[in-house]
Amino acid sequence: MTNYFTMDGTDSTNFQKEISGMMHGFGDNPNPNAATVVLVESIVQQQLKFMIQEAHQNCNLRCGKAITNYDIIYLMRKNIKKLKRLHDYQLKLDQIDKKCILNITTQAESLITGLLEDEKDPTVKKRRTHIDYIREFDEADEVSQIKFDSIDYIRKVRAAKITESMTFEKYEAYHKARCLSFRSGYGIGRGFVKLERWLNPVKEFKLTQSALEVLGFVAYETVAEIVDGVFLIRQDAKKRSGDPFSKFEGGYFCNPVSLSNAVYIKSGYEGVPAITVAEVREVLRRYYSPRTGMNGLFYRNMSLDLPIRYIAL
């Protein structure tokens, strides 16, 4: 789809269907705005491409042959919350993989892993090592200190609230939308072929499977963060100055009434209005506006290289 927003009109592989489903899953309208989807897709793609570039530099510095999950996790090292989320992500993935294997009766040789502890198969164990790398980067052992994943909690509460009063047909569509991710295919053999073709069409970088797994996680997080940001913006837009009770008025994520005076409303058949391009742009503006920290607006970057910040990290 050649569009104003797409960087180059040549790429045939896109994740528009998946991203529109993901946005629906995170609480957008069942039919997300097509222009928004295209914009979000280009944002995610750009972010991941920057990330691969930077990981490639790091990889060269440490004389690696291919970009591994080590390089990608290295970029994430500052954000402990996201490291924790990746840590949990791997734990869940491992559990689910084991579960899937158990369900397949014909794959008898895989059955053994969970059953006879004394005769463990050495080849099966430890394909993913994200957790080991996370432990390595996390010298102060801060990741294990986090007991509560607030991002996850907020998203789950939102999903539960959205589904509260859905009919079965709508819920089925919602469930299908939530099942989408940046992995292609179904089951254990979910691969990252499409993701790699999307990010790295001419194979200029060598990416290992584990690196792609982390990239898929980051891409998913990016979409989620953008949608989260939109809901925060809508909450802000609703606030009236001088009203002391405005902060108590309902949830900011899914209550259609609380969104009624958001600026750009083009409501679909569901209560929640579809996320507009302007809202996504506002989210990005807030992400990239200079921090009002210790240096504030007078911050000078002495080494003159612009710091790249990632939405998901």
Binding site: C100, L102, A108, I112, F168
Partner: protein, 319 residues
């Protein structure tokens, strides 16, 4: 087989002929009917297409039908199955035979005659039509189907895997991939993993009995190869069963309420993984109301898990 033996018992006491409502019995019952066509003998049969299709026989069968129906409605057994009819028919038999003794002529044989039906009202009107209603739990429980049954045995001797692989049919051994021999048999269709320590894991069976038989066959095969194999510690390790609740479930709400047991990550796996503590069973719950049970050691555990989870899931039903 047991039906015919039943009928043999009944034929040994010809003085009280019992009406047998099972259709299988009609061949057995036909012979005394033909031999004794006297109108006074209370030979009853459910056989409507009997060649003795006189009015008398038909009336009697009609009458016994109403009697039987009233008995059923009075006991109000909701789960009435055809196999249980036999017991009921034996209950009503003396009543019929006493009423038979009062019959004198052709006139008294109408089904609504007072001598025939001592009740003041027509039993048809007293009868309430009870459709066999089963509760949701029963329905869900009857939908449990064991898909796989994993058992282990210990042969009590060290095995040479390469030797076993070379001397048996339908076996695979690839030490680089998996350090055990994969053996298969056809009847019952089963797969076993044989390890060097003498442990055998037997899988692919639908029930415990088949699993036991398959395990014995595998042990026998290895014994025939010349190992001093014994059949020790047969144990069912895991049942994998499925059930269908027949209503959709709101997984998000369930996940919110049972956060410490449930994990639901739709982008990774479409089902909700529910780790039940007691009984120690893992349930995979899907949106369409289908459940997969894994990790149960007995059928009882799976039934128990379903009994526990049913009311919970019921409350998260999508109406």
């Amino acid at each position: 087989m047991d039906i015919s033996s039943n009928n043999l018992d009944k034929r040994s006491t010809p003085s009280v002929p019992t009406p047998d409502w099972t259709t299988n019995a009609q061949n057995e019952m036909e012979i005394p009917l033909v031999e004794a066509p006297a109108p006074s003998t209370p030979a009853l049969s459910s056989n409507h297409d009997n060649n003795l299709s006189s009015k008398y026989i038909q009336d009697v069968t009609n009458e016994s039908h109403t009697n039987r129906a009233s008995v059923i409605s009075s006991t109000t057994n909701p789960t009435q199955t055809p196999t249980q009819c036999g017991t009921h028919s034996s209950v009503i038999t003396p009543a019929i035979s006493t009423s038979q003794s009062l019959i004198t002529g052709e006139v008294a044989l109408t089904p609504t005659h007072s001598t025939f039906t001592p009740q003041s009202i027509n039993p048809h009107s007293a009868m309430t039509a009870i459709t066999p209603m089963v509760s949701g739990t029963d329905q869900a429980r009857s939908s449990i189907k064991v898909q796989n049954c994993v058992s282990t045995i210990h042969l009590g001797c060290e095995l040479k895997l390469l030797d076993i692989y070379c001397r048996t049919r339908f076996s695979e051994y690839n030490p680089a991939r998996f350090h055990g021999v994969v053996m298969k048999i056809i009847d019952p269709r089963a797969t076993a993993l044989v390890f060097r320590s003498g442990k055998v894991l037997c899988t692919g069976l639908r029930n415990e009995h088949d699993s036991y038989i398959a395990a014995r066959k595998f042990a026998r095969i290895i014994q025939k190869l010349g190992y001093p194999a014994r059949f020790l510690d047969f144990k069912i390790q895991n049942f994998i069963a499925t059930a269908d609740l027949r209503f959709p479930i709101r997984l998000e709400a369930l996940q919110q309420a049972h956060g410490q047991f449930a994990s639901y990550e739709p982008e990774l796996f479409p089902g909700l993984v529910y780790r039940m503590v007691r009984p120690r069973v893992v349930l995979l719950i899907f949106v369409n109301g289908k459940i997969v049970f894994t990790g149960g050691k007995t059928r009882g555990e799976i039934n128990e898990a379903l009994d526990i989870i049913y009311p919970i899931l019921r409350s998260y039903r999508i109406s």
